[in-house]
C-alpha cells in the first residue's frame, strides 16, 4: 500500500518536480499540495497524510514552525524537511522541531526516495552532505547549539514563536490565523511576555527580539502594531 504524502513548497516547479519523481514508483502517493505553512497545517488536518515533505523556507510560518504546529495536532505525522542549504541553524532547527529527516533540494532522486522510505518505516534520515558536514564539525568540536538567548530563556517555545512574529510586525489577528489560535490568546501571550521580560510595549519586545538575534528585520521594517 502506498504512503500518502503532502507536498509543501511555495515554488510550483519544486512541487511538480517532486510529484513527477514520486509518480514514477508506487510506494508514495501525493494526496495534496500546499504553498505555505498555514495551508499545510489545514491540509494535514483534512488529509491525514502519512508523510509531509516540506520546504524549510516557507512564507508566513516557516517549515520549522509549521512542523511544530503539525506535530502539536498530529504527533504521528512524519515530516521530512527539504532545504536548499545545509547551514547549522536550519538543520538543528528542523530536527529540534520534530522533523524526521532533513534533505537538500539538490539531493538526487535516489536520496529523496530513500529518505521517504526510511522515515515511512519510522526511521530518521539526513542527506549525506548534511551528515558529513555535521560529523566533521562534531569531530572538530565546533558544533555549537543555539539555545534561546539568555534574556529570553524565561519564555516558552510557543511564546518565542509569538515573539518572533510580533517583532516582525504581525498583528495579533495575523498571528492567530497562522497559529490557529484565538486572537485573544495571542493578546494574552503578548501581555505575559511583556510581564516576564519587563517591557511595556511592542517596541520593547521587538528591540529584545532583535538584540538577542531571535529575528532579523530589514532596515525600516520595525514592528508598528503597538495598538493591536
Amino acid at each position: 500500500m502506498a504512503f500518502d504524502v503532502l507536498l509543501v513548497d511555495d515554488h510550483k516547479i519544486m512541487r511538480d518536480g517532486i510529484k513527477a519523481i514520486l509518480s514514477r514508483g508506487e510506494e508514495f502517493r501525493v494526496v495534496g499540495e500546499a504553498e505555505n505553512g498555514t495551508d499545510a497545517v489545514q491540509s494535514v488536518k483534512r488529509l491525514r497524510p502519512d508523510l509531509v515533505l516540506m520546504d524549510i523556507g516557507l512564507p508566513g510560518l516557516n517549515g520549522v514552525e509549521t512542523t511544530v504546529e503539525i506535530l502539536r495536532h498530529h504527533p504521528d505525522c512524519k515530516i521530512v524537511i527539504l532545504s536548499m542549504y545545509d547551514d547549522e541553524n536550519s538543520v538543528v532547527g528542523a530536527i529540534r522541531s520534530g522533523a524526521r529527516a532533513f534533505i537538500l533540494k539538490k539531493a538526487s532522486d535516489t536520496d529523496l526516495l530513500e529518505a521517504l522510505r526510511v522515515v515511512a518505516r519510522g526511521g530518521a534520515y539526513l542527506s549525506p552532505q548534511v551528515s558529513d558536514r555535521l560529523l566533521t564539525r562534531i569531530q572538530k568540536g565546533d558544533l555549537e547549539s543555539h539555545p534561546a538567548p539568555s534574556s529570553l530563556s524565561v519564555l516558552s517555545p510557543r511564546e518565542l514563536q509569538v515573539l518572533r512574529m510580533v517583532a516582525e510586525g504581525k498583528t495579533s489577528k495575523e498571528i492567530a490565523v497562522m497559529l490557529d489560535l484565538r486572537e485573544q490568546t495571542i493578546r494574552s501571550y503578548r501581555k505575559t511576555m511583556m510581564k516576564k521580560l519587563g517591557v511595556n510595549n511592542v517596541a520593547g519586545l521587538t528591540q529584545l527580539a532583535l538584540s538577542t538575534g531571535l529575528t532579523h528585520l530589514p532596515r525600516g521594517q520595525a514592528a508598528t502594531n503597538d495598538s493591536d
Binding site: D9, D10, H11, I13, M14, D16, G17, I18, A20, I21, R24, E35, N36, D55, I56, G57, L58, P59, G60, N62, V64, M84, Y85, D87, N89, S90, G93, K105, K106, S108, D109, E168, G213, L214, T215, H216, P218, R219, G220
Partner: protein, 84 residues
C-alpha cells in the same frame, strides 16, 4: 532616505531574491534533470555533468545571498506572490 540606506535596502532585496527565488529555480531545474535521467537512462552522464554545474551555481548563490542577507533561515518571505 539617505543614499546608504537605499543601497542597503537594494542589497538586502537582491539577497532575498537570490535566496527566495533564484536558488529554488535552480533546485527545480535540478529536479527536472533527475526526471530526464530517470526517463532516459542514456542521458545519465550528461545529466551528471549539468547537475554538477547547477550545484556550483547553487553554492555560489548561497554564498552571495548569505553575504547580502545574513541568516536566511531567520529571515522570512512575505508571500510568494509579492516577491519580485
Amino acid at each position: 532616505m539617505p543614499k546608504s540606506s537605499e543601497t542597503d535596502r537594494k542589497l538586502e532585496h537582491a539577497g532575498k531574491v537570490l535566496h527566495d527565488d533564484i536558488g529554488p529555480l535552480l533546485s527545480g531545474a535540478g529536479l527536472r534533470l533527475q526526471l530526464l535521467r530517470m526517463d532516459f537512462p542514456e542521458t545519465a552522464e550528461s545529466v551528471r555533468e549539468v547537475t554538477e554545474t547547477l550545484d556550483q551555481a547553487i553554492d555560489r548563490v548561497r554564498a552571495l545571498s548569505q553575504e547580502l542577507k545574513p541568516s536566511p533561515f531567520a529571515g522570512r518571505k512575505t508571500s510568494s506572490r509579492s516577491r519580485a
